[in-house]
Symmetry: C2
Subunit: 436 residues, 2 copies
């Protein structure tokens, strides 16, 4: 530790929720950080689109600029933090900063899930850090544990609740008996859900995060398009109640697995996001409201779970600050965190996976319907473990739990069921999570 | 990333449960680690006391030596892993290795809790890493998140279940109605508890870990002697049942807090280990069996929890391997993780803390006993929130929940209660954890 502190000049791109929380946090923790690390970290430039808006933070006016392209490569900037989101211009700006030898910190999950491999290579080529703890699961330390603590761990599976909006909605449905529509409206009122909630409720957001988790956990490049995703908009109160009666809770889970190739080739990676029945005894079942958690199954470490706030200005700013201190210390030492070669992952298709399922059929209340449905399952070799019939007339419903079966056979079963005259519609399709 | 791998030669001191699991893990993961980091890590020396014992691991006989002092400073050793435990010779060996410029990894909680500050200074002086993820909470990534991700976070409090033995015993008592004695005997049979269980059940083990957590979380040196600790041996089935009826579960918790000084001086640190009533809605309540978890309350990040296996050969070896890869990468880059100056912490005494309490009194079943006891509470200004009387004759018992009160007043109350003729004995003294 040198006795005179090392000045670190930071450029911040974007000053919304996270950016303004970060500016406040960096200023407030400045002396403590300097005491503990010898780093004198100051935000010396903030790029915003509109200079006239008061950001409500205690920063001198001359720190703000609307010339973002000049700021990222300015000589008096040592480290760049990208918080503008989206693909462009974020991507070009990050590449410019890395090429200019400046470490970059980003919370941009969409960009990393689509162009991560290119950006990681650019950081490696520039010999500087590209850190992104804030991109997945907000304030929860996840990327650093995966990249460092667990780099040598034979990780088999990662299960995550990584979308706070859907977890809030499902918690309201489970604990207060709310309908999906009412819970969604409440989440929108509280600012947990967007006016157009599609990205959250249909699993796009969780899918992008799952691609990043899989890439870092397994050391092979996975992109958002590799991730099969299903949402929660078809989940009903009766599905939630059925799960509860049977010792489960319904969660939107992201699953990333490493699987031995059937042909002896390199391991295959499977990544998907879908609603699932989680046993109440599983640690993920206790993750309520808008909290996130990531459950890791390793060959040596066993079961791990990392739990906390997955979103919000301050928790996300906390993650960015951790990266900033790390990047600053590395920059001072002239080193950087390493990325492996990140070969493109061999993706196993969802069709080739297997699981136990919980399937809800809305049926006509007529004799023979169960026999016809059961025959359809049998025709596709999908074995039924239990079933429960409820409701009368137009409300009649049958919920099935299957034994473990290949996804492709379950889909074929569902396709045929949809065509049966006495099946009015197929409701929730839930995978059943084992263990816990 | 250089294209030809960097050879890293590792000396392992001790080859018990953790050491042999580590040797197997390092060999098994060698190629994967080399692929992802460019590090060619091999254990080239293992120091053991008795060369004649077969360790059951796939290591060439010439790797073993009984000359431990020569091994730690040998020219053909790049990194030293200390897994022999205890204060000496571990301390001298670690200091010798650091002085010789060799990064050291240790899982030695007793040593760090007593002489941590001296060792951290020696590492800083030698310009090399001293890493110790395995010393606290086994396989759970905790030290690295605290030292890196959360270094800039204003951490207010850390609450941990960091002793697996006591958590196993309390889980058996809670879920299966076992008595303390039966649950302890079962833990001993399963190898979770030692023949002499004192270190675990009286809170010494958790106290040492809490000292390390407080030191790293707050950047100020706390030693084991600073930690007030109480154990679980006085907890009875009726305490557990009472907690359950009132929506709580009893856990042995370690608490480390940062408190503003009353005299305007530097923040004070309070660290203690004691049994506590944890609300069922708190994430720590769901930590069962021998699992560990650490719950962190930060000013920006909010609530975080890190959960996993706190002991066992393989989970602990996983933590050591994470440190080994990190230390090897730093060693290759000629850098090391930084320690702050770690001033000696200003410790706030347990007497000066306050809490709500749950107190069990075993009383004589006579009229007037409640009035006499209530008067005693009142004399010391301790206000009673609720009380429940149960049992008859020699089994008569009163359980009190107090409002938040200073520890010193509660102790004075208990001392006086112990002298009352109609109070046969004071049973469990539990703090009540708020929040969750």
């Amino acid at each position: 530790m040198s006795t005179s502190p090392t000045p670190v000049r930071v450029a911040l791109l974007g000053c919304g929720n996270v950016g303004s929380a970060l500016a406040t946090l960096v200023a407030g923790q400045h002396d403590e950080i300097q005491l503990r690390t010898g780093l004198d970290i100051t935000i010396t430039g903030i790029a915003v689109r509109d200079l006239s808006i008061d950001r409500g933070i205690d920063v001198a006016p001359e720190v703000f600029t609307d010339d973002i392209s000049s700021l990222v490569i300015a000589d008096n900037v040592d480290i760049v933090i990208e918080l503008i989101g989206g693909i462009e211009p974020a991507k070009s700006l990050i590449l410019a900063a890395l090429a200019a030898g400046k470490p970059v910190i980003t919370g941009n999950k969409a960009l990393l899930a689509e162009h991560g491999a290119e950006l990681y290579k650019a950081a490696e080529a520039g010999g500087v850090d590209l850190l992104f703890e804030a991109a997945v699961a907000g304030g929860i330390p996840l990327m650093r544990p995966l990249r460092e603590s667990l780099l040598g761990e034979p990780i088999n599976r990662v299960l995550g609740i990584i979308n706070g909006t859907t977890n809030y909605i499902l918690t309201q449905m489970t604990e207060n008996g709310a309908s999906y529509q009412d819970a969604l409206a409440e989440a929108q009122e509280l600012g947990y859900a967007e006016a157009d909630p599609t990205a959250d409720v249909e699993g796009f957001d969780a899918g992008a995060k799952a691609a990043i988790i899989a890439t870092i956990a397994f050391g092979a490049s996975v992109v958002a398009d590799d991730v099969h995703h299903e949402g929660i908009s078809t989940i009903t109160k009766s599905d939630i109640e059925y799960a509860g009666r049977n010792g489960h809770v319904i969660k939107l889970v992201a699953v990333a697995e490493r699987l031995a190739a059937t042909d002896g080739g390199p391991d295959e990676i499977a990544v998907r996001v879908h609603p699932a029945m989680v046993p109440l005894s599983h640690p993920l079942a206790a993750v309520r409201d808008s909290f996130n958690a990531v459950f890791i199954e390793g060959g040596a470490v066993g079961e791990l779970m990392l739990y906390g706030r997955g979103a919000g200005g301050e928790p996300t700013a906390s993650a960015v600050l951790g990266d900033l201190i790390d990047a600053a210390a590395n920059w001072r030492a002239g080193t950087h965190a390493y990325f492996g070669p990140l070969p493109v992952a061999a993706i196993r298709s969802i069709d080739d996976l297997e699981s136990a399922y919980c399937l809800t059929l809305n049926v006509r209340d007529e004799t023979g319907v169960l026999a016809e449905v059961a025959t359809t399952f049998g025709n596709h070799g999908v074995s039924i473990k239990s079933m429960e019939q409820s409701g009368l007339g137009d409300e009649a419903q049958i919920i099935f739990i299957t034994h473990v079966a290949p996804e492709r056979d379950v889909r074929a079963t569902l396709d045929e069921l949809r065509n049966l005259d006495r099946v009015r519609s197929v409701g929730a399709v839930l995978r059943v999570v084992s263990g816990g």
